[in-house]
């Protein structure tokens, strides 16, 4: 049972967290794994917290990742990446978008947004790679590509090849035309490169 891979994808409602996790699940299944995907989403469509759990391996029983056992945390938003650090196993890695999405309760002055979520994560001793997925997507011309950038970012941190994941991503866009397929391929590679470069800089 301990052979399962646990991937936690976090962000806020509307960012595409659940779709990204579903594509990761499809890739795991394409590799012959059993897989389960589950969310703690609540009324997430309304800008709430979303944490999506993906477990895959020979056979998956409980769909939930137990705190302290996630292999990889893919964070679509800075503070959310920080919020869920406790889910990582010792030695687990966080791949996070540096975007900050500030909720109304903070704008109203009722709470503070952490000044530097990345620094807070580093303090925990967990490995973390940060990159600006939102800017990468905007540079490619459409903020909606952020989702694919995030999937590219995790591509080299999975127990299967990046190409398998890329195939599953592009399959989603096949019916929407060559142009979108090409754009998403670029977004995927850009996310992958961003993480690669950030890791090389640390090493």
């Amino acid at each position: 049972m301990s052979e399962n891979t646990n991937i936690l994808v976090v962000g806020i409602g509307g960012q595409g967290v659940m779709t990204a996790t579903e594509i990761l699940a499809e890739a795991a299944i394409a590799m012959g794994h059993d897989a389960k995907k589950t969310e703690v989403a609540g009324m997430a469509q309304r800008g709430g917290v979303v944490s999506s759990h993906l477990r895959f391996g020979q056979r998956v029983l409980s769909p939930q990742i137990t705190p302290g056992t996630a292999d990889v945390l893919l964070g679509f938003e800075s503070a959310e990446a920080m919020r869920w650090q406790h889910m990582l196993k010792p030695g687990g890695i966080t791949l996070m978008n540096t975007a900050r999405l500030v909720p109304p309760v903070v704008e109203l002055g009722l709470f503070d947004y952490p000044e530097d979520p990345l620094a807070e994560i580093r303090k925990t001793g967990n490995k973390v790679v940060a990159f600006d997925a939102t800017s990468i997507a905007l540079e490619l011309g459409d903020i909606r590509l952020g989702n694919t950038v995030m999937l590219g970012a995790i591509a080299d941190h999975l127990p299967f090849s990046a190409e398998t994941l890329l195939d599953c991503v592009l399959k989603r866009f096949q019916r929407k035309g060559e142009k979108l397929v090409a754009l998403n391929r670029r977004a995927f590679e850009a996310g992958r490169a961003a993480v690669g470069e950030a890791e090389a800089a640390v090493a």
Partner: protein, 625 residues
């Protein structure tokens, strides 16, 4: 709505529990499927409606949906209805007599318990209905089982002419896992046979059906004892054996892979002998069930020595991080200490909020500006009005309850509330679900309540489903559309007390509410702008804040739109000597849809239409929007 691709038979696909049930309903040859949306059950009917060769409908409430299914089953066809746990409370009146008549065509009722309250007003255990109504209950543990048990439930339903409850929980409905699907089998209905002794439940007839119900239950218990859905799985660690069902089974297997387990799939009537069999194999038995101790209590009454809620919580999911410490403690093993490392970071909460440009924003901003109101609320997106910055909703109990509770607050007001005005807030779909009767009661009993009927033409919170208020059926095709003004008029509200208001016109809304709360009568104010997430909504040119003009007053923040962000804060000393906080803002133009709500309270006119400096392409929505 979930996009459904035609899935070929024998393929193995990733499906949620809801999608798996939908597939099985179609394969079982079901002819009629009905439901009212409710998290986490909604996608079952959404997906069913995309399959061919069956009739699917959004009913106005769960009781009607069950009655529609009952009619189809009486007519000999296979029928399906589904609902969230609280929906069954509404439908239960029909269920409690349906159990006496039984069915002809198979009838399965899927009930989705929101264990963990991800999107509900309470946590309930729907397995009680099986005991209460003396009908069988199946409990799947993943999508494959949800699929297979739905098919098995139709067989059992027809074999015993009994409706079967499929008890699901959020962790089944919304978990995606692999399912091998099959082919559709046609089901040919027998047709309706007039049989008053069975279908006309007057006392003389019903009394004769009750003994039959109990005889049926005895036979069903025998079937449960032998059912392949109830399996003992041997294990080498015999210190504790587990009796469990549903998602809790997966958690038990994950946590204690070597323990003997009785997995209950057909859990009501309870196969007590099977439970005894497990008990004889192990040193002690722990019953792991979400939520209530139903199996545990029944086994104790049968003289079995089992443990359950003495060591496990009565609320929430029984995940491995709950089970492992509880069992370790029972066995006298060291209990794993939850280290600080395993606690979530203590940062700001991110509660769900209303969408950018939501028409409800105008309503709650206005309600927050009117003094001396007690506001009776209801179930829907507008329940969020209880949160910041509006704090303008004071009660939320059950679907349609805003009406009766408002009348009760009016009639039961004490001296302390004599100057308070009572307001009720209800959405279009909730009003049609169960609010109409409350309004009728209010009119009939001469209440003094101002009702805000927020018609956004959708069941918003569950994803914008259609309803009789928006003129579209479950397939998005044209359907008769109710006229809310005429409807409330027909319920007896005086025509001069009925107002239709655009919720984006704040001065009109404010004046209408302020005027109507002063009138000692029933008033209905209908807001008429669509949910921003449905196709009826049209985006307008976005706004931006002219930085030089912003005085930091923060009035626009009180609207509560998530597109407004603070850029810097400051303090100012007023001529009176009072120090006030300042918050200078910007608008996220990429998500602003130009509703204009924030423009209206902005005194310095600092919010103007967005004029991009360079001609960059404007994009909407999507990641990090």
């Amino acid at each position: 709505m979930a996009a459904v691709m035609p899935i070929p038979a024998a393929s193995r696909v990733l499906l949620s529990g809801n999608e798996a049930v939908a597939r099985a309903v179609w394969e079982a040859g079901v002819k009629v499927a009905a439901a009212y949306p409710g998290t986490p059950s909604t996608e079952m009917l959404e997906v069913i409606s995309t399959y061919p060769d069956l009739y699917a409908e959004w009913s106005v409430n769960e009781k009607v949906s069950l009655e529609v299914a009952i009619g189809a089953a009486y007519a000999g066809s296979r029928a399906f209805c589904c609902m969230k746990h609280v929906g069954m409370n509404v439908a239960s009146d029909a269920l409690m007599t349906l159990t006496l008549t039984g069915v002809v065509g198979g009838l399965v009722i899927a009930i989705a318990d929101d264990v963990g309250l991800s999107s509900s007003q309470n946590e309930q255990d729907s397995r009680y209905w099986g005991r209460f109504a003396h009908v069988p209950v199946f409990e799947p543990a993943d999508s494959q089982e949800a699929y297979a048990m739905t098919l098995a439930a139709y067989e059992l339903s027809e074999q015993f002419q009994v409706p079967v409850i499929l008890r699901m929980t959020t962790r089944i409905n919304h978990v995606k896992s692999l399912v091998t699907v099959g082919e559709r089998a046609e089901h040919v209905g027998a047709g309706f046979t007039k049989e008053p002794g069975r279908f006309v439940m007057v006392p003389g007839n019903a009394g004769k059906r009750i003994p039959l119900m109990f005889q049926r239950e005895i036979k069903l218990r025998e079937v449960a004892e032998a059912s392949p859905l109830n399996v003992i799985e041997a294990g080498s660690d015999k210190r504790v054996g587990f009796i469990t069902a549903g998602p809790a089974y997966m958690h038990v297997k994950e946590s204690f892979p070597n323990a003997p387990v009785l997995k209950l799939g057909f859990s009501c009537p309870l196969p007590v002998e099977k439970c005894r069999e497990l008990a004889a194999m192990v040193e002690q038995v722990v019953v792991v069930e979400e939520v209530e101790p139903l199996v545990e209590t029944e086994l104790k009454a049968q003289g079995l020595k089992v443990l359950g809620k003495e060591i496990l919580p009565l609320q929430g999911e029984l995940a491995p991080n709950v089970l492992k410490p509880a069992i370790a403690k029972l066995l006298g093993e060291p209990v794993p200490v939850v280290s600080e490392r395993l606690a979530p970071a203590q940062i700001f909460p991110r509660p769900p909020t209303m969408c950018v440009a939501c028409p409800h924003l105008g309503v709650y901003y206005t309600l927050s500006q009117v003094r001396n109101l007690n506001i009776s609320g209801d179930i829907g997106c507008y329940t969020l009005g209880a949160g910041h910055p509006w704090n303008a909703l004071d009660t939320c109990v059950s679907m349609g309850a805003s009406m009766g509770i408002a009348l009760g607050m009016d009639k039961g007001r004490g001296e302390a509330d004599k100057d308070k005005r009572v307001v009720a807030v209800i959405g279009d779909s909730t009003f049609l679900h169960m609010g109409m009767q409350g309004l009728l009661d209010m009119v009939y009993n001469k209440g003094n309540v101002t009702v805000l009927l927020l018609d956004n033409r959708a069941v918003g919170m569950t994803g914008g489903q259609d309803n009789p208020g928006n003129g579209r059926d479950i397939h998005g095709e044209e359907a008769p559309r109710i006229d809310f003004a005429k409807l409330v008029s027909a319920l007896g509200v005086k025509d001069e007390r009925i107002h239709k208001v655009n919720p984006y016109e704040l001065p009109v809304l404010f004046k209408t509410i302020r005027d109507e709360v002063k009138v000692p009568d029933v008033s209905v104010i209908i807001t008429d702008q669509p949910c921003v997430l449905i196709k009826d909504y049209h985006k307008l040119k976005p706004f931006e804040v002219i930085d030089d003009k912003c005085t930091g007053c923060g009035n626009c923040i009180d609207v509560g739109c998530p597109a407004i962000h603070v850029t810097r804060r400051g303090k100012e000393v007023k001529p009176s000597g009072r120090e006030v906080d300042l918050a200078f803002v910007r608008i996220e133009t990429s998500v602003c849809t130009g509703c204009g709500l924030c423009v209206q309270p902005c005194a310095p006119k600092a919010i103007q239409h967005y004029a991009p400096v360079s001609p960059i392409k404007l994009v909407q929505g999507g990641c990090a929007a």
